[in-house]
């Protein structure tokens, strides 16, 4: 019954897919919370327990999202790679700029490592999100 109701809310031509977009938003939220927590402590020492916990949760969700995505049948992987590739390039530049600011502001050691890993998760998660958001509405390609 619930599945029938969910199907009824879809636009004609759309189909139900795993919650990749929702999980990506959750990953993004975890990274943003970690960023806010860190920024609220700077330039003093930042207690690392909460940021490490947030980072681990984000990595696990990102990995789960990758598995869910890879299991989708009848998907337009060509469009996914096209969008995700260009978005990855754009976000690599943005993440690189943020990394530059961290180093410029004398962030060092474990703190720099945690922030770099958070940036890496961010820079991988957004291309996955945008690639999926576009490819889901395309006709499946021949390879799928």
């Amino acid at each position: 019954m619930e599945a029938h109701q969910a199907q009824a809310q879809l636009v004609p031509g759309d189909r139900e897919l795993p919650p990749v977009q929702q999980i990506s938003i959750a990953v993004l939220a975890l990274i943003v919370i970690g960023g806010i927590y860190t920024a609220s402590h700077l330039p003093r020492h930042v207690p690392q327990g909460p940021t490490i916990a947030l980072l681990i949760a984000a990595v696990l969700l990102l990995a789960a999202n990758g598995v869910l995505l890879s299991r989708i049948e009848q998907f337009n992987w060509r469009v996914f790679r096209q969008v995700a590739g260009w978005v990855l390039l754009a976000y690599a530049v943005i993440a690189g700029m943020l990394e530059y600011v961290f180093i410029y502001d004398h962030t060092r050691g474990t703190q720099l490592l945690i922030l770099t890993l958070m940036l890496a998760v961010f820079a991988v998660n957004i291309p996955l999100l945008l690639g999926f958001s576009v490819a889901r509405f395309q006709a499946p390609d021949a390879s799928s």
Binding site: P12, G13, Q21, V32, I36, S40, W86, I94, V101, V134
Partner: protein, 204 residues
């Protein structure tokens, strides 16, 4: 990797088949040099720690970001809602590629320069009387960023790809445009909170 900036032929949806075919680029290439100049200028501002340049980038970027968000959500949104679907498609085809360049650039300008400005002025320090206001601004910006990247931007790009199809799905475009306009409106309203916080910080 194929280019997403290549010109494509777009045919209007069934309701608008009388409309002529149009060429459009998902990423307007002509705008990229402007974006590059803005970003390089911001890097120079941060590297030189020029208070004026950081102030300029933060205030100009923030003002435009807030203004465009409010205008999109509260003025253009209701107008678009009352337009016919072919007119909406026509309008979206021209508006959305520009938004794809303008908004991320303004957000990068505002946040990058803002953080460095706060650092230069000593507002980042926990001892600063402005610290709690700054943390409040981080939270507002964090929520806005999550909404913008998680919902607004995917809807924007999905609409552009839908418009490239020989026969775009009008209902899908309408639903995605609603997501775009509503999320722009929500972030616009949240920008009012940012305005309150920032003017409080500026007033000391």
């Amino acid at each position: 990797m194929a280019s997403i900036a290549e010109p494509v032929q777009v045919q209007a949806p069934p309701a608008a088949r009388a409309q002529p075919l149009r060429d459009f680029q998902i990423v307007p290439l002509a705008g990229l040099p402007i974006v590059a100049v803005v970003i390089v200028g911001m890097i120079v501002a941060i590297a030189t720690n020029s208070l004026w340049a950081l102030d300029f980038y933060h205030i100009v970027g923030g003002g435009l970001w807030t203004g465009i968000d409010l205008f999109l959500g509260l003025v253009l949104g209701p107008i678009m809602g009352s337009m016919s679907i072919p007119a909406r498609v026509e309008f979206s085809t021209r508006l959305m590629p520009k938004m794809l360049l303008i908004m991320p650039t303004l957000v990068t300008m505002t946040l990058g320069a803002g953080f460095q400005l706060a650092r230069s002025l000593g507002n980042l320090s926990a001892n600063s009387p402005q610290h709690s206001w700054l943390v409040a601004s981080y939270i507002v910006v964090g929520v806005m960023a999550t909404i913008a990247i998680g919902l607004l931007e995917p809807a924007n790009i999905a609409v552009l790809f839908e418009l490239r199809k020989p026969q775009p799905n009008g209902a899908r475009i309408e639903r995605l445009m609603k997501v775009f306009i509503y999320t722009a409106g929500i972030t616009g309203l949240m920008q009012v909170a940012t305005l309150v916080i920032m003017t409080h910080i500026a007033a000391g």
